[in-house]
Symmetry: C2
Subunit: 507 residues, 2 copies
């Protein structure tokens, strides 16, 4: 900066203009209390400390007792070992740079970079998109991609029809959930039925939109199952307190529990929705992450079955179901894509949702394209099919192997109880901590599970999230970990840490 520039402004103010006492800065009390109260532990204190340790490792690696941070705090597969599916990335490269389509086919083939079906898919998508992924799309998303999604849902749900008009392509499931809740949270008497434990986006949204959390506890002893009687009891208690139970959030497969709901449980949830007029948000982002002989049933499929079986009884149910490209075989978290399907809502609610979504114009168009690729992978006979199939199998097997290994490791240890993994990317074992550990955490002024997770991080570099970040029954303590990190050394490190921790704090 030169003095000449400064002088440009020198004559602007008179002495009188400048005769003022500058006002104070804003403080936390000037902010929206919904925001200041919201909590989101997945990127909270422990992950923040892990980031500091990561910087420390770069500067002074010798002072820390580990060589690397293992980010087991967040389901972020491509940060760790999961490779993107080749077909997905071929198509995306062409969408970004359609000049690739203009290279002679033989020349391109000699490079062995792009399969024929990737070229074809990219051409179709560019056509659907209108020529450039750099243009805003329709606020619900590109119509052709919404058609692909509708076709997928129809197949998945055994022929129950879905239509593009009911689909919104979104910036991931988080943004879909946030938009829906901002619409549906009328005032501080609005109640959101949220499973406990839960993915903390939901309690954070309740805080942001000034609604009441109506927690319904999942049953840890029976593999974190959902009990509809428990939900109905919460509904009735809320009504007595003049709180309107407006939205019922279901996470299936569960995060952080990994529990997969049975058709019967889903049917019972639909019954509550029908009886009390509660809108269901069904977070189904882990529908591809299913292990160990369980089966995923979508809320929509079960609802449609009930509508056929019991005409007139379930027609009033309003459902939004969410899916994402961040999980499953894609693991494309950074591409930010997903969809929601909305059914049963009246036209005025649909119009209000459309207006709300149009304020943010549209979701990222490459993310929309990834949704297309997720729901319509290469088919037998396509040039990419075999490679794609092998890549998917590898992802599936590695994830299941690690899930089971971690589970078996926890099972052997004292003071840790773990349910068998069914789905998603997480284990949520219970810590039965010795009294001495509880006293130590009290002395430090932190929750016992936070104390455990902090100690684990500082000793091993393994970054997890304490159960308190997800909710748990009072007096119980848990830890959420992903099973995405490669190798087995970190599992061995955790085991040794746990044994040392118990040696130190055993009563």
């Amino acid at each position: 900066m030169t003095m000449t520039h400064q002088q440009d402004l020198k004559g602007v103010f008179t002495a009188k203009d400048l005769d003022f006492k500058p006002a104070g800065k804003i403080t936390k009390k000037d902010l929206n209390t919904g925001v200041t109260k919201a909590e989101y532990a997945v990127r909270g204190a422990i992950p923040t400390r892990a980031d500091e340790l990561k910087e420390e490792l770069k500067k002074n690696p010798e002072v820390l007792p580990f060589d690397d941070i293992i980010n087991a705090n967040i389901g972020n597969p491509q940060q760790l070992d999961q490779k993107p599916l080749t077909f997905t990335r071929q198509v995306l490269a062409i969408l970004e740079y359609p000049e690739i389509l203009r290279v002679g086919h033989n020349e391109l083939a000699s490079l062995n970079l792009f399969s024929r079906d990737a070229l074809e898919r990219a051409e179709r998508l560019l056509n659907d998109i209108g020529g450039s992924i750099g243009a805003y799309s329709h606020s619900q998303g590109v119509p052709g991609i919404r058609q692909t999604v509708a076709d997928f849902i129809t197949r998945r749900d055994g022929g129950e029809p879905a239509t593009p008009e009911d689909i919104y392509l979104t910036t991931g499931a988080s943004s879909a959930a946030t938009s829906l809740l901002s619409l549906l949270c009328k005032d501080s008497q609005t109640g959101l039925l949220i499973p406990i434990p839960q993915y903390p986006l939901y309690t954070a949204s309740a805080s942001l939109f000034n609604a009441q959390v109506l927690p319904y506890y999942l049953d840890e002893e029976s593999n974190w199952s959902t009990n509809s009687d428990e939900i109905e009891k919460v509904v009735q208690d809320a009504l007595k307190k003049q709180i309107r139970p407006s939205v019922l959030i279901v996470i299936n497969p569960g995060n952080p529990t990994g529990a997969v709901l049975s058709e019967e449980t889903i049917a019972r949830i639909c019954l509550i929705a029908a009886k009390y007029g509660i809108t269901i948000i069904s977070d189904e982002v882990y529908q591809e992450n299913i292990f160990n002989d369980v089966k995923f049933h979508s809320m929509k499929k079960v609802l449609r079955k009930l509508q056929h079986l019991y005409p007139g009884k379930f027609d009033n149910v309003q459902l939004a179901s969410l899916h994402s490209i961040s999980k499953g075989f894609m693991g494309e978290c950074g591409q930010r894509g997903g969809y929601m399907e909305i059914i049963g809502f009246s036209q005025e609610i649909r119009d209000a949702l459309f207006k709300l979504m149009s304020i943010s114009i549209c979701s990222v168009v490459t993310g929309q394209a990834v949704v297309d690729l997720m729901v319509k992978p290469p088919q037998p006979g396509d040039e990419s099919y075999e490679q794609d199939h092998d890549e998917r199998l590898k992802i599936f097997h590695e994830m299941r192997t690690r899930a089971n290994l971690l589970y078996e490791t926890f099972k052997e240890l004292e003071g840790i109880e773990c349910q068998k993994p069914q789905g998603a990317m997480y284990l949520f074992p219970r810590l039965v901590l010795p009294k001495k550990a509880l006293c130590e955490s009290e002395r430090l002024g932190i929750e016992p599970d936070e104390f455990y997770c902090t100690s684990l991080l500082e000793s091993t570099g393994i970054c997890t999230v304490p159960g308190s970040g997800f909710g748990q029954r009072p007096g119980t303590y848990h830890v959420r970990t992903t099973f995405l990190a490669p190798g087995t050394k970190w599992i061995q490190d955790w085991k040794e840490f746990h044994q040392d921790f118990f040696s130190k704090y055993r009563n």
Copy 2:
């Protein structure tokens, strides 16, 4: 769906379970009134009607008096004529599909698809990003990209330093503005100073977050300039009414006005912020779209100058400035990227903002990469430089030519008054409509400018937005149009429509 499937659920419910009267569906009155009241005309009634006409054109082209819809309602350059910059798309293709980097250099060079500097930039970005754009990034964005942004701001502002810690990479400027306002809108006594006319995101956000709009009118007669005395008067009036003027929104260059603020005007805005402790949000997304001998000055640069000139007087000013990849030379709307720089906020406010941003995890990583490419284009000596430079010149010239042509056309017409284009992508001419037209619109129950825009759409296929969607002085009427659509035929069509309209409704 087969009957077998249905039978699975048949035994689930008892007759008693099913003995209930289904509840009613939710209606508009069950929704968040902040959402139902929000208005966003850029994708409102007239653009929705244009979508219907587009469908009609596909089915029955012969029934309409035009062949195509001209979407002049939204600044969406790549939907129209603007080509993406080649360098940008080369780098993005490699980020999506890093296998391209593993092809032998000679083989790749023979295709003439990727320049050497695109390969190098992609390698650097992949390294900064941590290997895959499919992983979530840090919630503020990739640190290396934030460093590139900080370097850009430092250069742009004549050496005034910027740091990566002050930068957030966001899903475009809309998402940055919405996040900031959700944090800063405490309650219904919070006042947002919003220029009128404005980009309707701001009044929509005021509605979403239940804050008061404190409109300050821009001076149409002096090329839509901003008068700080007018702002200060609005501040004082608000304070008298117990409304806290918390946030001052500045759009520079203006949307929809295209006005570019002088350094003096910006200095006077800073003075108000300093005096009353008002946070400034400076929407500077059109900073590259500058025509006709004006110069863009950033709010940050002027604020820093004042802080140097008058120690202690301006140190309290809190500023967030926004930029976007959607406008300027990139025009990458569908990629959804931007940044905000936050300065002057205390640590507790910074912490609250970080937590809020972490709830949505991170912005799309390819969009973050486009920010890097926007703020650090190829330099002289780089292989891409000449082509990139030519592409930019072409975009600039075409946009300026069209802006001036449209302006000259309006100038010739009766009943339309237009300020000279200075920046952005829009003209916002005033309609001085004959009484007969006012009567006709009253008869139809719509605003006169809506009547004009609807007639324009139905006659010519040109989709614009009435001034009422942006705000205007009572009794005045305007129309906002982009000058992005290619060719000159649509301008001629508009001219003819306008002459016919006046012939029909002339007093």
